[in-house]
Structure formats: C-alpha cells, structure tokens
Amino acid sequence: MRLLLVEDNRELADWLGKTLRQANYVVDVVHDGEDVEHALAAGDHALIILDLALPRMGGLEVLRMLRARGNAVPVIVLTANASLDGRVKGLNEGADDYLAKPFQIEELEARIRVQLRRANDRTAPVVACGDLVFDTNTRLFSLAGETLGLTPREHAVLEQLMVKAGRTVSKAALSAAIYDFETDADPSTIEIYVHRVRKKLEGSRVQIATLRGLGYLLRHED
C-alpha cells in the first residue's frame, strides 16, 4: 500500500515515514501543501496522512481542493490543534479521520488500517485468497498457515494484487502503487518482483496469472 505523508516538520516526516515503511507500507513524504497535487499525480496513493499546519497551502485547503476535484482518497488529518472546533472543521472539509498530536504510532497505524479496509469495502481484518492469507493488523502474509517471508517490494506487489483479488492489475497501476519517489520506477522491474513472488507461491493453489496487454491477476484454484 502506498501512502502519502504530508508534514512540514521534516524530522517528524522522516521518522513517521521510516516507521510506516517498517510496517511494509510504501511511503512518499512531502513537506508542503502545494506539492500534494504533484505527488498524487505521480503515484497511486491508497491514503493521505495530512498535517494541517503546512506552509504555503494549508492542510484544510489541500483537503478542499482534493474533494472539489472528486478525489475520494481516504485522508487522515494530523494536527496540533486538538480543539473540537478544529476537529469538526477538518471532518467537514472531507477528512475521513482525525488524529491529534502527540499520538502513538500504533493508533495512527490502526486508523490507517481502518481507512484502507473501508476503502476496499472490507470489514474483516484478514484477507484470504485460497490458502494465502493477509492479516492487515500484523501486515504479514501466510501461506497454508506458514508466514511468508517477503522483501518490502515483493510485499507491496503481493499486497496490491491481494487487495484487488479477482481483478486485473495493470503493470502501470502496480508500478504506481509500489514505488515511492525515491525509486526510479522502471515498469520492467515489476516483472522481476512478480517472478520472485510467483516462486514463493509455488506449490500452493494460489497463483499470479499474466494476461497479456492487461496485467496481472491473483487467483486460486478451487
């Protein structure tokens, strides 16, 4: 899952990014409200974590702009202003959730999971495809009850396919969801990661099918 973190305090942004990457999220960090638009155009973000006190373009303004353009990406607002008025204002402008600083990272992660579940019309914290199971709480894959060891990139590929289970995911969409800005997004490398994941899924009833010209599809044999 690729997340966009918008926070003007660089240290907090860095460390939040690091911590979320620890949990196998793909995280892009911008420090300025005006950069949000470019960031969203350049990648497929499943969720935005938005600080309200931003230079140049405030968080509320960013939110308003997004919603005015019909962008429905889930937004969790972070702010140092914990007043009721501030919370209501943020939610009214289209925020999906609200977290006041200082917060515990566990709470932020739990709220991210809730928003992602909701965005994918899921209620259960566990997603399954045959005997491949993804626990969104621990953010770990298991195959036939055994934890599946994956590199962050492999994890990102499989998670994306899992979330869209039963639907085709194009190479471009996969690329937009798994690479952050730091990486040169070369679509051809996608094939390498898909190949590696396929190898790790060997022997199970779950497989990644390639549909030429369309992309990839995660499916399981009955």
Binding site: E11, W15, K101
Partner: protein, 450 residues
C-alpha cells in the same frame, strides 16, 4: 476617630453645624423668652400697683387704702404664685400690706428675696389729692416667680421643639439624599461583586451621576487592559502547547521505531535521534520559560551591573563544542568591558539565543562572529553569521513568537528572536537586523551604557 463611612461623614458635616446653630438659637430664644416674661410680669405688676393706688383715697379725713381683689387676682394664672404688697405714705407710714416687703428703689422693677422666695417687685408712686404731706403714696407689689418661670418655659420649649424638628428633618433628608445619590455606587459594587462576572465585560450602571461615571470608565478601562493581557497570555499558552505537540509526536515516533527495529545499527540511529529530539524539546521548554520570565511584570525588575563582554565570552565558551563539531569558525571581537545595567540572567539568555540562532543557521564550515563595542554612550553587541540571512520583508515578523520563515528547513522553535527582543526592550535598548558582509544575517543590539 476617623469616620470612613461616606454617609456618616456627610451626615456629620450637615447635622453637626446645624445642631451648633440650633444651640446658639436656643440660647438667644431663651433670653428672649426671659425678656418677654419679665416684660409681661412687669406690666402686670404695674397694672396691679396702679389699681391699688387708685383705690387709695381720703375717707372721712383719713387716708384709706383698700386693696381691690382684682389687683391680686390678676396674678392667679394657675401657677400658685404668692402676691405681696404694701402701701406707704410719703412719710413712710404703712397704710396696708406686708410691712417688711422690700421696696424697689430702682425703676421699673427688681428681683428680690422675701420669705425665702424669689420675688419680682415693682414700686409705684401715686399722688393722692388732699392727702397733704402723706402724698405721694408708694405702692409696692411683688409676685413670686412661678408664673414667670412657667411662661419662660412655655415660650422656650416651643422654640426648642422647633429647632429639634429642624435638625432631625435636615438629617433625614441628608440620609434620603445620600441613599438616592449613593444608589449607583451600590449598584456598581453589586455589579463588580456579582458571581456571574467571571468574564471581564464592561460594567454598565444606569443612572450613574457625572461624578461616578469617570470611576466606572476607569474601572472598565482597567478591566479592558487586564482582559487584553489575559488574552495575550492565553494565546501564548495555547501556542506553547501547540508548539510542544509536534516534538512530542516526534519523540513518540522515534521511540516506537527504535522498539520495533531489529537491526542494531538502525536501532542505534533511532535512539541517538531520540536523544537529540529530547534535547531540542528541553531547549524549547527552556525558551518558553525564558520568554514568560521576560514578560513585563512576571519578574521583579533587576538592575545588575553586567559586563556584556564577559557574558558573551562565557556564552561563546559554552557553545564552542557545537561550533567545533560543525567546523564553524566562532569568534569574539572585543575591546574591553562593555558595562550595562539590567537583568543579568535575561541578558545572558539573550546572548545565548543570538549565538544559538547564528550557529543553527550557519552552514558547516561557515563563521559566526560576536562583536562588542561601546560607542556614543551605547553598548553595541553584534552577531554576524554566514547563514541564509532573513529577507527584508520577513524582518518585522521574525521577532514574533513562533514565527517561522516559510520553506525554512532548520527546526528552530521560532522563539529565539522573540526572546531577544523582549529582553532588549525591557533593558531599554533596541534590536535591528541587517545584511552581513558575507550575505548572512547581522543582529545588532544596542543598550544604554552603565
């Protein structure tokens, strides 16, 4: 004794002089009552004596004095007065009456004592036709003083009652007037004391007189000042709380990261960063405290003799490790002591903030110079750095609390220059920003020399 009640004071000022005047008035009215009673008694004595004298005639060649009852009865005023009289010939022969009754030698009348009673006496001479050498006869009538005194008392008592009523009525009107006049003051008191007045709204007292209006206006102006000060305090506290939230979120994030990280090096890195963050947070708390102390009225004004050169040297020594660590050339240029008068702790804190800022914004390998001079009766402290400087249009704002320049990547608190300005202005000086020779920032502080 001091009377602190306005009511008692005004009552005293009105009633006491009035009572004094009434006393004088009573004394004079007593005298006039006495004079009136004297006059009336004397007239009666004269009438009585005349009536007796007219009845003295030669009857059968003998001088005969018959006292008519009316001459005695006219004194019967119900006061049980005794009337004494005697009638004598010119030769001193007693014709009738009390022989030992003293005679009034002076005109018109006199008070005498007869048979242990005070008497008012009158002697009247009357010529009797055909009485020869016995003429003129003298008639002396005396009456005891009961009727006279009763008359005085009656005359005087009514005057006394009138005066007393006057003073009492005046007192009552003073109290009523005061009650009415003081009512707006009482309402003002109730308005100020009202438990509903937790906010500092202006007080309105309808019907307040022009003398009380300035008091209410002054009170409202005072409350307005207090309210403004409280609002500033509230803003500052809210701002401070706000400013503490992000560093706290950072600490918590770094701690969580370190707890989850299994790679020793990454974990070590997170812990070092955590330590740095907590140091910054401590510095922020310190600055907040300094700023609240620098506020006028929050600290007793001090007049320490401070040598700015000495203070700057001390600050530079403590900051040397940071400068060396970042390879910054930190230097002091001075020409002897620069004495100023002010709060020593705050002045040192001011220099700390200037040097701290300069080091923070100067890139590694740059230079920071602190200069001290005493020119034209002023102490001049300048801190010159190699940093990015401050654009001219931002220079007014950077002294505001928590103000941070847009796009600034350095994690300052936005309090350093606010502290500097607060301290310098408290010490009667001023602070200005300028361009450095190498493109950095020059902060110049001018303070009056001691």
């Amino acid at each position: 004794m001091r009377i602190s009640s306005l009511r008692l004071q005004l009552l005293a000022w009105v009633v006491l002089p009035l009572a004094g005047l009434a006393t004088i008035n009573l004394w004079t009215s007593h005298r006039s009552a006495l004079a009136t009673a004297d006059l009336v008694t004397d007239r009666m004595l004269l009438g009585s004596a005349r009536a007796i004298a007219e009845q003295v005639a030669i009857v059968d060649g003998v001088l005969d004095a018959t006292v008519p009852p009316a001459a005695i009865e006219m004194f019967d005023t119900g006061d049980r007065d005794s009337v004494y009289y005697h009638v004598e010939t010119a030769g001193g022969r007693l014709l009738t009456g009390y022989p030992d009754l003293p005679e009034d030698t002076r005109q018109p009348s006199v008070e005498a004592v007869y048979r242990d009673q005070a008497l008012r006496l009158l002697t009247f001479s009357h010529a009797v036709v055909g009485a020869g050498p016995d003429s003129p006869i003298t008639v002396t009538v005396g009456v005891t003083m009961a009727g006279h005194d009763a008359m005085v008392k009656r005359l005087w008592l009514s005057a006394f009652a009138q005066q007393l009523a006057l003073v009492a009525i005046a007192g009552i009107f003073v109290l009523l007037g005061l009650r009415r006049g003081l009512a707006p003051l009482i309402r003002l008191r109730d308005a100020v004391r009202s438990p509903r007045r937790s906010d500092l709204d202006p007080i309105e007292v309808p019907g307040a007189q022009s003398e009380i209006r300035p008091l209410i206006d002054a009170l409202n102006a005072y409350m307005e000042r207090v309210r403004a000060q409280m609002a500033a305090q509230r803003r500052f506290i809210a701002n401070a709380a706000h400013q503490l939230r992000t560093p706290l979120a950072l600490l918590s994030t770094q701690a969580s990261y370190a707890l989850r990280e299994t790679v020793p090096d990454a974990r070590q890195e997170a812990l070092v960063a955590l330590q740095t963050s907590s140091g910054k947070l401590a510095r922020l708390a310190e600055q907040l405290l300094t700023l609240s102390r620098a506020e006028p009225g929050s600290r007793r004004p001090r007049a320490d003799h401070v040598d700015l050169t000495e203070a700057a040297r001390h600050v530079l020594e403590t900051h040397a490790p940071i400068a060396i660590g970042r390879n910054i050339d930190l230097g002091l240029e001075e020409a002897g002591p620069v004495p100023v008068i002010g709060d020593g702790t705050m002045l040192r804190e001011m220099i700390v903030n200037l040097v701290d800022n300069a080091l923070r914004y100067t890139r590694a390998g740059g230079s920071v110079t602190v200069k001290l001079a005493a020119t034209d009766g002023e102490a001049v402290l300048t801190v010159d750095d190699d940093g990015p400087g401050i654009p001219a249009d931002e220079r007014d704002h950077v002294f505001e609390r928590f103000y941070r320049i847009v796009g600034s990547t350095e994690e300052g608190s936005g309090l350093g220059l606010a502290i500097v300005r607060e301290v310098v202005e408290n010490a009667g000086g001023r602070v200005t920003l300028g361009d450095g020779a190498t493109g950095g920032l020059v902060v110049e502080v001018k303070l009056p020399l001691a």
